[in-house]
């Protein structure tokens, strides 16, 4: 059992999840106006996963993320204000507006990047973990990937490699039931992605991704195991995405009312607030204060992103190499 979370940690957990939710819902609204360029994949509904896992990590632990990366970024400590500007394609963005939603990265905080290539992160995170191991440090690497990505050769190769080299890696399969329009019932040949763990010589754990505390606990064990040098774990987090695959997706492949029902009965923020207030660990006033503070912060980030300048033309040719 991981040690119970103190008040400060509970506030932090709720605040992180709330930032992710509000960030995504605001991007959803602004995307619909046509002002946000490119492809945007929202993480709303999945907040407990990124938050419950990243709360165990420090700045020197790396995460590799996916095309649906905003939540991972926020949970790992990337500044949401810079992220918002990045999504709007502004010079003040996390990556100077050069990458956009699908490529937000901040190596300073151990965020190795969202990724436009499904399954791209698995091998990379083996590398960050290897570097830590070679230097005799005890930092870990976490690779987030989807149910769709779980079928990619890179992920299989990375899991085997991590086991063979006994790397401090946690493979986090975020199973939201769909890869674009294709159901994981079809694309994954076994009942659970975690069932594949034994084929790669590592423990496989299934956890309810609507339950922050369940994720936090399972991740704590896997990360402890990795830090102590016992090798990788495959953690399958079962959850759901509240919006379409990308903004603009009509989602006719989904059952009617599917998301509405989850929002009403299982939502991670709702469950969290209910639990901590009914136990008297936090008050409704605590929750409402965070809600208000986060809303103001997100609103301000959009005002700023809109007003910020586009990258200057000279930026086109910079940053291709360190030296050339």
């Amino acid at each position: 059992m991981t040690s119970p979370l103190n008040r400060e940690a509970l506030l932090q957990a709720y605040r992180t999840m709330r930032i992710i939710r509000d960030f995504e819902e605001r991007v959803h609204v602004d995307f619909a106006t046509g002002e946000i360029p490119g492809f945007v994949h929202l993480y709303a509904g999945e907040e407990a996963s990124a938050t419950g896992i990243c709360m165990h990590l420090n700045r020197k632990d790396y995460i590799a993320s996916t095309h649906r990366g905003h939540g991972h970024c926020i949970a790992k400590g990337v500044d949401p204000v810079g992220m918002m500007a990045e999504i709007w394609g502004k010079a003040t963005g996390t990556c100077k507006g050069k990458g956009g939603s699908m490529h937000i990265a901040d190596l300073e905080v151990g965020m190795l990047g969202a990724n436009g290539i499904v399954g791209g992160g698995g091998p990379l995170i083996c590398g960050t973990a290897l570097a830590s191991k070679v230097r005799g440090e005890n930092n870990v690497g976490v690779c987030f990937f989807g149910d769709g990505a779980s079928n990619q050769g890179t992920i299989f190769e990375a899991m085997n490699l991590a086991s063979v080299w006994k790397l401090p890696v946690i493979f986090v399969a975020e199973n939201n039931g769909y890869a674009e329009a294709t159901s994981s019932n079809f694309s994954v040949a076994v009942d659970n992605i975690a069932d594949r763990a034994s084929a790669f010589g590592m423990p496989g754990v299934i956890v309810d991704g609507f339950d922050f505390f369940a994720v936090y606990e399972a991740a704590g064990e896997a990360i402890k195991r990795a830090r102590e040098g016992h090798g990788p774990t495959l953690l399958e987090v079962k959850l759901s995405r509240y919006y379409g695959h990308f903004e603009g997706d009509q989602q006719t492949y989904r059952a009617p009312g599917e998301v509405q029902k989850l929002r009403e009965t299982k939502d991670c923020l709702m469950q969290f607030a209910k639990r901590v207030t009914s136990r008297g660990e936090l008050t409704m006033a605590d929750i409402e204060a965070i809600d208000a503070e986060v809303k103001a912060m997100i609103d301000a980030s959009v005002v700023k992103a809109k007003a910020d300048p586009l990258p200057a033309p000279s930026e086109l040719m910079t940053d291709v190499y360190v030296s050339y």
Partner: protein
Amino acid sequence: MARKITYQQAINEALDQEMTRDPSVIVMGEDVAGGAGSPGEDDAWGGVLGVTKGLYAKHPGRVMDTPISESGYIGAAVGAACNGLRPVAELMFIDFMGVCFDQIFNQAAKFRYMFGGKAKTPVVIRAMYGAGFRAAAQHSQCLYNMFTHVPGLKVVVPSNPYDAKGLLIQSIRDNDPVIFLEHKALYTMEGDVPAESYIVPFGEAAVVQEGDDVTIVAIGRMVNYAKDAAASLRKKGVSCEIIDPRTTSPLDTDTILESVERTGRLVVVDESNPRCSMASDISGFIAQEAFGALKAPIQMVTAPHVPVPFAASLEDLYIPSPARIEEAVMKVKEYR
């Protein structure tokens, strides 16, 4: 009978007609039906941008969603082609070739030669390419030059709906592996397309417009930009001949050569990065074969040697524009 349809509809129609004509034609890819195993519609997507929409219902069992396993299903398409099928496998964005390139360039491309002429691999790999969608560095590349480099592959880059249909039908009937590349910005382009089935042969460039002063060779979407530039140049008294190679492998060098020998001036327009590109390939060929005819140094209008940027202000600068083509034409026209 021709009627106006879009580039996207032309591709859909070519697939539909070939599937009807030949039961060995199958279509596979991620979400080409879109909805496998899900509780709602089975063919919810018909491809990410709806290009294969409707085929699933019309050709039961022959339009297959795949897991996200490009090495797996692209390789399986290659294998199925060796064993008598004519698979059309969709790679979605050409950038994803990175995941499965071995199955394409070490396997499919090499069989015919390595096996002493005994193998036949009639596979088509369709994918969209090109910038302009704010899709950033991993979803916007051109990459036709990389396939063109590989002996054994044929590479098709249609610039309009008519060619898209005829070239895709030829691709499916062709007995070699074909990389068929669709510029995302062209999907909504309308043009006259015959309702009946027809082919556009490989290795035959289209002379899009005849002219005397300067030859412009342009690829894919850039053909349309070259037309814009040429229309503006005509008002300034400059007459451009525009050549659309339509396939970069095989490449119709005769038509390009004949034109440059007449005009003495060449501008090559290519949306890819410039190094080892179609622009440098065609320029090199003309420098070697038509040196004596050239009245000015060849000009290449390409993207710069950088990845595709996300921000609008940068991506608009990245993509060659009609204005840059016009500038290049004036430069060769006014040389000396």
